[in-house]
Symmetry: C2
Subunit: 457 residues, 2 copies
């Protein structure tokens, strides 16, 4: 057997990594619960037809398909096999696939369980997804999404709550973030104002790259799509008039007042922000970013994106409002809004910024020595008493007559803070020696004194 390995883009997690990941998941789940959201889980495998066509052609290619079981070639078309037509053969030999995101399975769930759901339905879902993307820094083929959505409500109160959820989660994680907010209708209005409604997509796609390619690049790309230099200048003047931080919408209101759709979007934003402020949340880490365009085919109103302030790492969260979650599964016009936390990137950011609390992995607290057969009559009952008292305890796994040094080293290597030693002297005296391995002190105690000491010490 060759040296074992794991598929590229996937990862093993050791005990400390699991503890750190659990800390992130527990934090988001606690906040979701506090805001009245409830959990659901869906299978890792979905029917392939549930997923195909939902993520565009590029997305379809990145879906991991599962080969049918048994003699899967039996009913495959001979012609497709002989011409080696991978694309067309796929649906004949694969009917299941790995979840690509949590949104489509959620939509499917809502439709399948529509009779059990009360609207507005506030659900969260924390599960892994898979994409056959090229792995790179911060991008894995297996990664977790933490999605929180409210469906069946058009109230801007939902937006206010989701902004508050972002703030609360990142406050608890100790991570400074900036929450970028936009509204699809402002993008529509922008195109209208510069009299280029027909070029909406080109404008939006170019603007979305502003961060990376600057105004020169944006201008070049727009002019290639037939947008004039004058129009680009107009765009630039609107966008540059918006304050880089905070939620002052006055310049936007002045500049976009000529567009009815922009005014609708602006009023939605204002309402959401007013609710948010009235609750008592600070707004200094929010920013209006009218170039933000994620999920353009999907989002119809508010758009969110979160970035870490002190660590360079793309977006660590995002989302928005949609007016039709489930139409593709036969339930038309179910509106909602949701955001997602990129748990794996958040992990990387917390790691880089050294923000994980210490001692997340609750190690064993007490190691009991195993150096004398006669001591077992004392140490085995102590082991159970410690655990019954909720104290993580271990007895050294093997009897090694007199070999305390090795067992002490084991405790030190595993960073176990206390060691109980029972040798022949202690058996005679019926006492336990409790060693505090951090301050290198020790004392003779009874079983109950020892437990009390560890619990309260």
């Amino acid at each position: 057997m060759s040296k074992p390995s794991i598929p590229k883009g996937t990862r093993d997690f050791g005990p400390i990594e699991v503890a750190k990941r659990t800390y992130i998941f527990d934090t988001v789940k606690q906040v979701f619960g506090l805001f009245g959201f409830v959990p659901i889980e869906t299978p890792v495998m979905e029917n392939l037809q549930t997923l195909t066509g939902k993520y565009g052609d590029e997305g379809d290619k990145l879906i991991f398909k599962i080969l049918n079981s048994g003699d899967y070639l039996k009913d495959a078309e001979d012609a497709l096999l002989s011409e080696k037509n991978s694309n067309k053969l796929t649906p004949q030999i694969s009917e299941k696939a790995l979840r690509y995101d949590l949104t489509v399975p959620f939509a499917r769930f809502v439709v399948m369980h529509r009779n059990d759901i009360k609207l507005p339905f506030k659900r969260y879902q924390v599960q892994p997804v898979w994409r056959a993307d090229r792995p790179q820094k911060g991008r894995y083929r297996e990664f977790y999404q933490c999605d929180v959505d409210i469906v069946g409500s058009e109230s801007m109160l939902c937006e206010a709550e989701l902004i508050a959820i972002y703030q609360e989660v990142f406050k608890r994680l100790g991570l400074k973030v900036e929450i970028l907010i936009n509204n699809r209708k402002l993008l529509d209005g922008l195109a209208e104002i510069i009299q280029a409604k027909d070029k909406f997509m080109s404008i939006t796609i170019a603007l979305d790259k502003l961060d990376k390619i600057g105004w020169d690049g944006v201008e070049k790309e727009m002019m290639e799509h037939g947008i004039s230099a004058k129009q680009v200048q107009e765009l630039k003047s609107i966008i540059e008039s918006i304050p880089k931080k905070g939620v002052d919408l006055s310049s936007l209101e002045a500049k976009l007042s000529g567009s009815a759709i922009a005014m609708v979007g602006l009023n939605e934003l204002k309402e959401a922000l007013a609710y948010h402020q009235a609750m008592g949340y600070a707004q200094d880490n929010l920013a209006i970013d009218i170039t933000l365009a994620r999920g353009l085919n999907y989002y119809t109103s508010t758009i969110f994106e979160v970035k870490a302030v002190e660590v360079a790492m793309g977006s660590i969260g995002g989302g928005g409002r949609y007016n039709d979650l489930t139409g593709v599964f036969g339930w038309q016009g179910l509106a909602g809004v949701g955001v997602s936390f990129g748990a794996d990137r958040i992990y990387d950011v917390l790691e880089q910024a050294n923000l994980f609390p210490e001692m997340l992995l609750e190690q064993t607290k007490v190691l009991i020595s195993n150096i004398d057969t006669k001591a077992l009559g004392m140490t085995l009952p102590l082991l159970k008493s410690l655990r019954d008292a909720g104290i993580k305890a271990e007895l050294y796994h093997e009897l090694q007559e007199g070999a305390l040094g090795k067992q002490l080293k084991f405790a030190n290597d595993k960073q176990i803070p206390f060691m109980v030693v029972v040798g022949s002297d202690e058996v005679q005296k019926k006492v336990f020696v409790l060693k505090d391995l951090n301050n290198r002190s020790q004392q003779e105690l009874t079983s109950s004194e020892l437990i009390q000491h560890i619990q309260h010490g």
Copy 2:
């Protein structure tokens, strides 16, 4: 789009099901931690060659394979395609597969991370696995395993600990179980004693069915394999001499004293049970079952199986000791012992026996009415204050002037115990009306009184 569905043998979990499953997972994890075990996680996808050949031919067929991405047919052999040879084509178009159990990925993990691991390594792993089995009652294609193993120790203290873990978990879950214990060496001894060592496999396979087919069936099957009626009678007299409950090994000791290997197995059992008893655990729900044979190719010493006492449902846990976890990945002779909890069956048993605690899903505790625009200046800050105090709270998602009835109904439907009402009167008086929806009382309170009342009431 047709009506959406999910692959057979998989399940969606709604909020209450997720809460119940989390309760099971949290219970096992807490106990594992108390006993000094630490968590690891491995990817859902493993390289196909990591898995194939590890579960026998039948097992290999039940592994879900993942189709390679891109033009997967490009390098496939033409001959295999034209003969439609599914079996031989598989490794050419699939190099990854879904995890089939947690043992093989654990072995792979141990070898890959051997430099980071201190022996004995006590790990637990709670993750789903997938098998293309025919779905039926209590058997799913996607299900969770909860595995706990100690590798790098041959001490029978490990066995004692694992029995205690079973007892502690099921005590916490309130479920009465019977823990069956055997030792592979007793099975070897049994064959030796009746002078049929060469028929070991036939004997063991037949005995394993004793529960289902009775002695008549076992005798018939054994005689077909050339075991004489006299030998079968001898077997029967040994097996029937063992008490059905408890851990009295004296009759076995007398009957198997002629077999050296049986005596080794018996001494292992005795040592494990002595440690277990010395810790202070009861042994009345243990039973020696010399017919127990699970995982015969794998286990080399102790064998465990757990059954629910009051609900009929196959085994809900099992495991045993092995003398070579990782040889197949190049690390020879790493011994260990482990047990597994069948979380999905445990769920079904707890459900049938009505043993889940009530109110596992912590619902929203307070719904705040939204019936008056002017009230928002009071209710929005209250919403944040409640959450800051750790109370799960929601504001009704839409402003409905004066429509309290509908919002009350919403609270009742969702079994929310408290409702806060703020209408125009309350705005004038600057008070909140807190309704206790269970005892149908109400009182006027300030914000801080209200929070105190809910926290301590």
